[in-house]
């Protein structure tokens, strides 16, 4: 269905090609998962399938890309609209109309499909994606998962044979992401579409993939069976990390497979030492925090205490008030209730002093960047924090990021940009650090870096609170966990108790080793193995 024949793609002003001499074939009806580190060229690969690269983005394409026998060099993306359906990361950015059914019809209107046929197809597509009851709703009022399903329906209506999705779940919470991913697997199994999907959080989809295309850092593409490719790739979802840890040559693709193998090999994880409860005095004490938007109680009376040196994770679904709580704790959001840090309420202090007590890295970290270069950004931060010149720059180095001071912050990778904002915020030397959804758009390597950085900060006595959807990240980073729902704190405890006992928030390895308390692959180092049973394939 899709053939890449010795394809190299070079962007203008780039020293080396993003994709270098790539040849592979994706068979009809396959679900092909595209993986790779951030900035490795996943999006370029996807864009090349419908010709957006290079027709729309510029750059030079050598070799041939054939989709359903059509050469993308001669067909523009618009001419391929009924062959390839393309869905981007953020559905809201791609919406042209303002009502669901109009949005689904838009593509067909462009193709000049007769109104009667169009009417029928809109209805069919609505049913296929299970969104018939949303038909006349304004797009802006839908939830993220619904919006993404509408976006998929909108390209499906043109009846493409290939569906290309560029990280369709990166802006969604786990439930919404599951919704979208199950809709996609349904399209592969029930409709017979060929789907090419880029996804950061492999653990959610790898069991459904027929092939995996790993875009390697050198620009080559390694395409093969998921278990094989994952075993050699540097991309390590939890189950791959488990396989590496236990020396399995093939990566189990689902929790069930891993669990069977663990039982067959009778692997017993070591007992985890309970983290010693910290008895230090809390540095931040918040009581009865409330945030209201109009009639909505975003945060309804939450009590939080943060202790120095402790990393706390805050879990909960989208819109349950996690962000509002963090903003209120920082004092940047009007709220009721008391927040006391060092005897002071950050909300009552001027912004410059508030950030020396509590600092927040917001969800879209790039909002804090405005200077044209990394160097200027660092010196501006030194001035704002009243720190020695060079403080922020050296912090950035300590975070393990070495970039030229002349680089434009907008050109950095997602992980580098997050580290830069973190360095800027830490230059104020605050005793409390709040991170709002920091793992969005980060690959496994960047997440591991972040985990290390947070660990070092905590060791130096900073109290850290991280809101996240990513249970795998939460499992590795923190020792205490708070669970929020509907603006209220519904559970609080050690990460290991809370996550292993939960169905919705259990990380994959906890499910593999249940009932033994295991959170991450590092927890099984030194586990007892009794090689009596034969290794099941």
């Amino acid at each position: 269905m899709i053939t890449f024949d010795r394809v190299s793609i070079t962007y203008p002003d780039a020293r080396r090609p993003v994709l270098d001499d790539v040849s592979f074939e994706i068979a009809e009806g396959d679900l092909c998962l595209v993986i790779g580190a951030t900035g490795s060229g996943k999006s370029t690969l996807l864009g090349a399938i419908n010709g957006l690269v290079p027709h729309f983005t510029g750059g030079r394409l050598a070799g041939r890309v054939l989709v359903d026998g059509r050469d993308t060099a001669r067909f523009r993306p618009r001419d391929l609209a009924e062959v390839v359906g393309y869905v981007g990361q953020d559905p809201v950015r791609g919406f042209v109309t303002d009502v669901v059914s109009d949005e689904i019809a838009y593509g067909m209107e462009q193709l000049g499909i007769a109104p009667a046929a169009m009417r029928k197809r809109v209805e069919e597509t609505l049913d296929l994606m299970g969104i018939a009851d949303l038909r006349s709703r304004p797009l802006g009022e839908l939830s993220g998962g619904q919006q993404q399903r509408v976006a998929i329906a909108a390209v499906l209506a043109a009846r493409p044979e290939v569906l290309v999705l560029d990280e369709p779940t990166s802006a969604l919470d786990p439930t919404a992401a599951q919704d979208v991913l199950s809709a996609i697997t349904m399209l592969v199994h029930e409709v017979g579409l060929t789907v090419v999907l880029a996804e950061h959080r492999l653990e959610r989809v790898m069991h459904a993939a027929d092939t995996i295309a790993w875009v390697r850092p050198d620009g080559r593409v390694d395409l093969g069976r998921p278990a094989d490719v994952l075993a050699r790739s540097s991309i390590t979802p939890p189950l791959a990390a488990l396989a590496h840890e236990l020396g399995w040559p093939q990566v189990p693709l689902s929790v069930r497979e891993a669990r069977r193998r663990v039982l067959a090999e009778d692997i017993r994880p070591p007992l985890l030492a309970e983290p010693a409860p910290t008895h230090t005095e809390p540095v931040l004490v918040a009581s009865g925090v409330e945030v209201r938007y109009g009639d909505v109680d975003a945060v309804a009376g939450v009590d939080v205490q943060l202790r120095p040196g402790e990393v706390t994770t805050l879990l909960g679904r989208n819109g349950c008030g996690k962000s509002s709580l963090l903003w209120a704790l920082q004092g940047a959001l009007t709220h009721a209730g008391d927040v006391v840090v060092d005897g002071l309420d950050p909300a009552r202090l001027p912004a410059l002093r508030a950030r020396r007590l509590v600092t927040l890295v917001p969800q879209t970290a790039a909002d804090l960047l405005y200077a044209p270069s990394v160097g200027e950004e660092c010196s501006a931060a030194d001035a704002e924090s009243g720190a020695e010149p060079g403080t922020t720059a050296s912090l950035l180095h300590r975070l393990g990021i070495h970039v030229e001071p002349s680089r434009d912050p907008r050109d950095l990778s997602e992980g580098q940009r997050l580290a830069l904002v973190l360095a800027i915020q830490l230059s104020a030397r605050p005793p409390v650090l709040l991170l709002d959804e920091p793992t969005r758009g980060l690959d496994y390597a960047a997440k591991a870096d972040l985990t290390r950085i947070v660990g070092e900060l905590a060791a130096s006595g900073v109290a850290v609170l991280i809101s996240t959807h990513d249970v795998e990240f939460a499992a590795g980073v923190g020792t205490r966990t708070l669970l929020m729902a509907d603006g209220e704190l519904i559970a609080e405890g050690t990460t290991i108790d809370l996550l292993t006992s939960s169905i919705a928030y259990a990380p994959q390895l906890a499910k593999v080793f249940a009932p033994s308390p295991v959170l991450t692959a590092s927890d099984i180092a030194g586990s007892v193995r009794e090689p009596i049973a034969e290794v099941a394939p």
């Binding site: 618009r78 609209a81 950015r93 109309t97 019809a105 109104p115 940047a332 405005y370």
Partner: protein, 396 residues
Amino acid sequence: MVVPERTEALKTLHPLAWWCWAIGLGLAVNGTTNPLLLILVALAMVTVVVLRRSDAPWARSVRAYLVLAVFVIGMRVLFQVAIGARTGTTVLFSLPEVPLPAWAAGIRLGGPVTAEALASTAYDALRLAVMLLCIGAANALASPRQALRSVPAALYEASVAVVVALSVAPQLIESGQRIHRARRLRGDSGRGLRSLGRIALAVLADAIDRSMSLAAGMEARGFGRTRGLNVRGTLPLMIASVLTTTFGGFLMLSTDARWPAMGLMVAGVTGTAIGLRRAGARLAVTHYRPRPWTWRETAVAACGVLAMVVVLGVGGLDPDHLGAAAAAFFDPLALRPSTDPLDWPQLNGWMLSVVLLVLAPVPLTAVRRERVPDASRTDTAVRSPRPRTHPVGVAR
């Protein structure tokens, strides 16, 4: 489930009908400064909007237009009090006058405020405010995007540009607010030109990103696939027609040759329509569920046009050439009540007809009051024993 009838009204009426109605009223309002008539028209219009708007987000915009209208009146009156020209003799109160140097002759700061000057300004401001309200009403009753869907195919690219602007603008405001909020986290108080510049730069970068992804999405979905038909002579026809229309408009406004002007305008508009239709054949774009133009649409649009014709027609009458009875009934001067000397504005019998024309869409669009909405129509078989009592023409 029973849906309130106002949702139905929007669904069944062509958006262009609402816009035609509102623009007709706007032109009618432009022809009068009678505050009583203006206030009645505004009240009638708000009534129609409140009864006939949908629950969609754009329907909430009428409040913003009301605020804008009040603001316009307030500003005009304030300026008149502070620096307006002095006319009339009825001094209401006096402000301390600031003496200005000789070169600023003709400009007055402070001083006596007369009832005549104030009334004249207020009347004029009221007219502008009600015209703004007309646009607001059209916006609330029909989403501008839906109205743009109905434009002739020849204007397709232009309408797409407007659609893109319409979708990026609110996102811009949102990202501006987000960035402004985030500035505090860095200790930036968010005030001052420097900080504004930073926000503007960040918002602009964001806007460009957003427009690029929207453009990529539209490209991938087949936007701009033209049929490539050769339509010769369309451009000259369009240019000639538009020029004719402009010349007709010029004659209409600046001379007394009303009938030739009218003729030229009609010819020009017809030519433009033909040109647009021919140019539209170039695109292969089709429309999903095009809204049918029924007698209701015609009637609602006609109400607006008729209101305009009545007001402008009466305004154009010469009282000297009318019989005594007709002059008393149609008194054209009542449309522009005198402010110097200040008279109490009169309300004539025929003005009531204008107000009725404004209100007419309410009965005209009163569709069946109870109906099962499309989305939950799975149970029609069970719940349709009720005999249909509404007119046949309602069916979509």
